[in-house]
Symmetry: C2
Subunit: 269 residues, 2 copies
């Protein structure tokens, strides 16, 4: 049997009795300290997706990173707080050694056919095969993604020179490639390196505090995307008092808007 | 004694024993059915702001509208789920007749002096006194805000003609004017009429599902803003399968970025 993709292993959860699931951090997605935030987000969402009472597909998901997560086991408590006819509201708590380390809320819903007309259009970009792959150095989770920067690449020199803007555009997919699903799309939404590094060319310590993803694709659209490249874009908005935020979009190679995302990030100085 | 501003009355909460507060919907902020979503958001945040264990000021706030809220009383259960040295993570549940009607999460923190450089700049716009006030027709909550549209006003004709874009820019403040605070800023972040109405010029039923606000102002900046006008901007991103989202920004009259916001909204057809 072929070994599971590292992503499958990372989001695998074991039932632990009434409303509780057990998971563990994945060395394949290790960050400098503790796990990559995107994999923590995916684990929180996966606890909803795998819940026997889940209704529909994700519409909105917010994860709040409450504390550093240690390498090892954690518990997830997803709770359907309100179930309506076609929508459902979830509260998720992630706990380690009896203390809360992350909270999340999710809205799932059965979608219906309506008028459709995405306004956030995919920007012009060379095809992924025409863009060199970024070097796979640094922390382990970086090696789990193929990244090809079209614009706004990781600073090559930490020379402290200020930049006006922090727009990045890049092609991204799992490495090895893997058919996209809601959990992996959520993990990918966190791949942007900190916008404050791009603005300042200075490696100040950072940590994402809260991230939101809105899903514009249904399961059929994700299936159509398959293991193809996604074009991602993000740009910073406010920077001050120790926190900055960015807004971003994710399209598939055919130009379909799959999701939009936002996050607010702590920075030290 | 001068009567309280309707906003004060709307967000007033009474302690009801261990970790529970009681409030009631405000006729002054009534929507077509139930209350204006912005006031529900403000009530959820207020339950955190008024909590005796609260640490610091809001950094991120997400509210999920789980069910229609009936006119009358509700209970709020704000819970500090994790308290760190300088940050705190909150889970809030709003309950009516024993059933959950809204969930929220908040991150509060003590801010520190750091490098600052907002990237989302206030767009050029005529001064508020040079822009006519929008007519105060329709539902009651609309009368609680002075709105002056610079661009992307409410459709004047429901002629079903499609528009490419849904950018709106408008000056907004409380009516009567009132010094800004975190709760009223949060309420104002929801004043945008539905982007799908602007795109389609068709009055399809809608309901906000989830809204997030990131705060870029501290209490001193809000005090400096006082009762002045705010310039708001919002633009839609994805529209399809019964849901659309928008992203937006709020600046004060002096051009300081106070907050960014985004929301995802259900629409019927």
């Amino acid at each position: 049997m072929a070994p599971a993709h590292p992503f499958e292993a990372a989001v695998a959860l074991q039932p632990q009795g009434e409303g509780v699931w057990r998971g563990r951090t994945s060395p394949a997605y290790a960050n400098m300290i503790g796990p990559y935030g995107g994999i923590t987000a995916a684990q929180c969402l996966q606890s909803v997706l795998g819940h026997p009472e889940r209704l529909g597909d994700p519409i909105a998901f917010t994860v709040n990173f409450a504390a550093a997560i240690a390498d090892g086991e954690f518990l997830l408590r997803p709770r359907p707080a309100r179930t309506n006819r076609s929508t459902q509201h979830w509260i998720v708590e992630m706990v380690q050694d009896g203390r809360l380390v992350a909270t999340a809320t999710a809205v799932t819903a059965t979608r219906r056919e309506t008028w459709s007309g995405h306004e956030a259009r995919m920007p012009e970009a060379p095809r992924p095969e025409d863009v060199p792959r970024a070097l796979r150095r640094g922390v382990e989770w970086i090696r789990r993604y193929e990244m090809r920067f079209v614009e706004g690449a990781f600073p090559q020199q930490w020379d402290g020179e200020l930049r006006e803007g922090s727009l990045s555009r890049l092609w991204v997919r799992d490495d090895p490639p893997r058919p996209l699903d809601f959990a992996s799309l959520t993990a990918i939404a966190d791949v942007f390196f900190p916008r404050v590094w791009l603005r300042r060319a200075k490696p100040t310590p950072i940590g994402t505090v809260s991230m939101t993803v809105y899903y514009h694709a249904d399961a059929a659209q994700l299936a159509a995307t398959g293991a193809g490249h996604l074009l991602l874009q993000a740009q910073g908005q406010g920077f001050g008092g120790g926190y900055f935020d960015h807004g971003g979009q994710l399209w598939d190679e055919a130009g379909a808007l799959l999701a939009t995302t936002h996050q607010v990030v702590y920075y030290k100085e």
